[in-house]
C-alpha cells in the first residue's frame, strides 16, 4: 500500500464520508482513491474549482454532519489557510492532508521536503492553535490519518496530517490493526432540546461544545467573527478573550494525550537525534549505524509536531550533551527545540532542502565522535 492510499484507508476506517479537493502533485492519489472508494460506501467526493472552494466545501459538509477531509500540497495549502482559520474559529471538525513537496512557490513539485512545518502551525492569520501529525511510514499514514479524523471530531478542530512526497509515494508492507481494535470518535451531540440549545455553551469540562448536524432540528447561528455562547457576534473583550482562550485550552488541556512519538535506545544515551516524517527514516538508519559504531545515541521520532511536545523533548533531551534535529528544510522545528532546551546543550541541525531525501550520513556527521 502507498502512503497516500493508507491515508485514505485510515480516514475511511475512521468514518469519513466526504472529500472535496483540487488535484495537486504529490497528493493527487488521495483524491483519486477517495473518488473511487467513497461512492461505494455511500459517501461523496467532489472536485472543486480550487483549493479554497475545497476547504469551504469540507467545512460545509462537516456542519451538515459528515466527517470530511481534503488533501493538497504546498501551493494549495497556502490557499486553504484562510478557511482553515475559519474552521478553527467556528470549531468545525475536518482534516487537511498536506503532502509536502519542495518549495517555496512551485518549487520542485515531485520532490520531497518538510518545508511547511512552520506554516502548518502559523499559516493562517491571527492567533490560533494547531494540531499537526507527521507520519514516517505507510503504517503511520494509516494510523495517524485515523487518529486525525478522530481528533478532529473529538476536539472540534481542523487537524493537519503533514506528509511528505517520500511517505506519500512510498509503498511498503503494512500490517493494519484489527478493525475492532480501532475506536472511532464522534463529535458530541447536544443533550437538551432545540429550544434551549446554545451552540457555544460550554457545559462539559473538556471545554468542547456539542455540534448537531444541520437538519436535525437544532437551529443556530455560526460566524467567523468573535462570538459568545449563543453563536452571535460580540466584541466585548471578556467574550473575545474567553473564546480565544478556550480555543487554545481545549487542546492544551489534553496535550499530554496528544503527544505521539517513538523513542529508541535512550538508556545511557548521551546524544540524541530528533526527527519526524520521512527524515525520521534516515534518522533511524543513522541511529542504527551510530549504535553499531558503539556511540551512545538515542532517537526520538515525533509523530505529533504541533502542539510542540515540549515536555517530551526536554525530558528526553535535558541530560544529553548533543542534540541533532534532522529535517528536510533549512531549520524549522529545530527552532522549537532550541527554544525549550537549555543553552548549555548544543542543538545541531541536520538539514537539507534541495528536493533530495536527507541521508543517514548527513545526520551521522552531526553526531559527536563519529569520524
Amino acid at each position: 500500500m502507498q502512503g497516500n492510499e493508507a491515508c485514505v484507508e485510515g480516514a475511511l476506517d475512521a468514518g469519513v464520508t466526504f472529500y472535496a479537493g483540487y488535484p495537486i502533485t504529490p497528493s493527487s492519489e488521495i483524491a483519486e482513491d477517495f473518488a473511487a472508494k467513497l461512492p461505494r460506501v455511500g459517501g461523496k467526493f467532489i472536485q472543486m474549482e480550487d483549493e479554497i472552494a475545497s476547504m469551504a466545501a469540507v467545512v460545509g459538509a462537516s456542519l451538515a454532519g459528515e466527517k470530511a477531509v481534503t488533501a493538497t500540497s504546498g501551493p494549495g495549502f497556502s490557499l486553504k489557510q484562510e478557511i482553515i482559520g475559519f474552521a478553527g474559529m467556528i470549531e468545525a471538525p475536518c482534516v487537511v492532508m498536506n503532502v509536502q513537496r519542495a518549495g517555496p512557490s512551485t518549487g520542485l513539485p515531485t520532490s520531497p521536503a518538510q518545508g511547511d512545518v512552520m506554516q502548518a502551525r502559523w499559516g493562517t492569520h491571527g492567533d490560533h492553535p494547531a494540531l499537526v501529525l507527521c507520519p514516517s511510514s505507510v503504517a503511520d499514514a494509516y494510523l495517524l490519518s485515523f487518529q486525525a479524523v478522530n481528533w478532529a471530531e473529538r476536539f472540534r478542530t481542523p487537524v493537519i496530517l503533514l506528509l511528505d512526497e517520500t511517505i506519500g509515494h512510498l509503498r511498503e508492507r503494512v500490517i493494519l490493526p484489527r478493525k475492532d481494535e480501532m475506536v472511532i470518535a464522534n463529535r458530541k451531540q447536544p443533550q437538551g432540546s432545540p429550544e434551549s440549545f446554545q451552540p457555544y455553551d460550554i457545559l462539559d469540562e473538556d471545554l468542547i461544545p456539542p455540534l448537531p448536524p444541520y437538519g436535525s432540528g437544532f437551529r443556530f447561528h455560526t460566524t467567523g467573527l468573535y462570538h459568545d455562547e449563543t453563536g452571535f457576534p460580540s466584541n466585548r473583550p471578556e467574550v473575545t478573550h474567553r473564546l480565544l482562550e478556550r480555543l487554545h485550552q481545549k487542546i492544551d488541556k489534553y496535550k499530554e494525550t496528544l503527544f505521539l512519538y517513538e523513542t529508541y535506545g535512550l538508556r545511557q544515551a548521551n546524544q540524541l537525534i530528533i526527527s519526524y516524517g520521512a527524515s525520521a527514516r534516515s534518522a533511524k538508519a543513522a541511529w542504527r549505524i551510530a549504535r553499531e559504531k558503539g556511540l551512545l545515541v538515542g532517537l526520538l521520532i515525533l509523530k505529533t509536531i504541533w502542539p510542540f511536545p515540549e515536555e517530551i523533548v526536554t525530558q528526553v533531551g535535558h541530560d544529553k550533551n548533543n542534540i541533532v534535529v534532522a529535517e528536510m528544510n533549512r531549520g524549522q522545528l529545530i527552532g522549537e527545540v532550541e527554544r525549550v532546551m537549555d543553552k548549555r546543550i548544543p542543538v545541531r541541525g541536520a538539514q537539507r532542502a534541495d528536493g533530495v531525501l536527507i541521508t543517514p550520513e548527513q545526520i551521522l556527521a552531526k553526531l559527536e565522535g563519529v569520524n
Binding site: L108, P109, T166, L170, R171, E172, R281, T359, P360
Partner: protein, 191 residues
Amino acid sequence: MARYEIRLSGAGGQGLILAGIILAEAVVKFTDKEVIQTQSYGPEARGGASKAEVIISDEEIDYPQVNKPDFLLALTQEAYNKYNRDLKEYGIMVVDERVDIAMRGGPTYVVPIQKLTQEKLGTRMVVNVVSLALFNKLHEVVESEKLKEVVLARVPKGTEELNEKALALGEELASNLNQYKIKTKEEEEEE
C-alpha cells in the same frame, strides 16, 4: 537477502512504475521479506526520464531511498544517463540495445528488449512487464506463477493474454541473458 536495491528506469509512460509496484506487491504477498517501492518523475510528472525503485531486504528498511542500486534497468538513453551513475561497481546492469553505454566493471547486458517486445508481441506497451519478468526470473524473487497472479490482477481487463506473453518473453530473455552480456572493463583489459 540482505538489502538489495533495484532501479527500473526508462521514459515516462513506459509503465516502469507499475512494474515496480507489482514487484513490491509480489514480495509482500508471497515472501516474508521487507520491501519498499518508490518512484520519481521529471520536473512535473510530464515527459523526461522516470524511475521506479524497489528495495528488498530481510531486515526492517529504514532509509527508503535507493542510493547504490544492485540492479539497474535502463530502457532509454536519457534514463541511462541520469540514473546509471550510482550503480554499485559490481551491480547488474540491463539496458536496451539502443542505449549507448560506457565501459564498466560489473555484469552488463545489452538486450533488444523493446525491439523484441514489438516484434514478438506486436506492441511496446508491455515492455514493463517483459522487464519485470526478466528481473524476477534472474533473481527468483517469487515463482513465475505468483508473479503472474499479481500482474494479472493489476493490468486492464482484456490484456491478460498479452501480458502473459510478455511474462513469458521476459523469462525467456532472462534464460538467454548470457548471450547479451558484454565484456566488462576487466575482461576487456585481459584481452
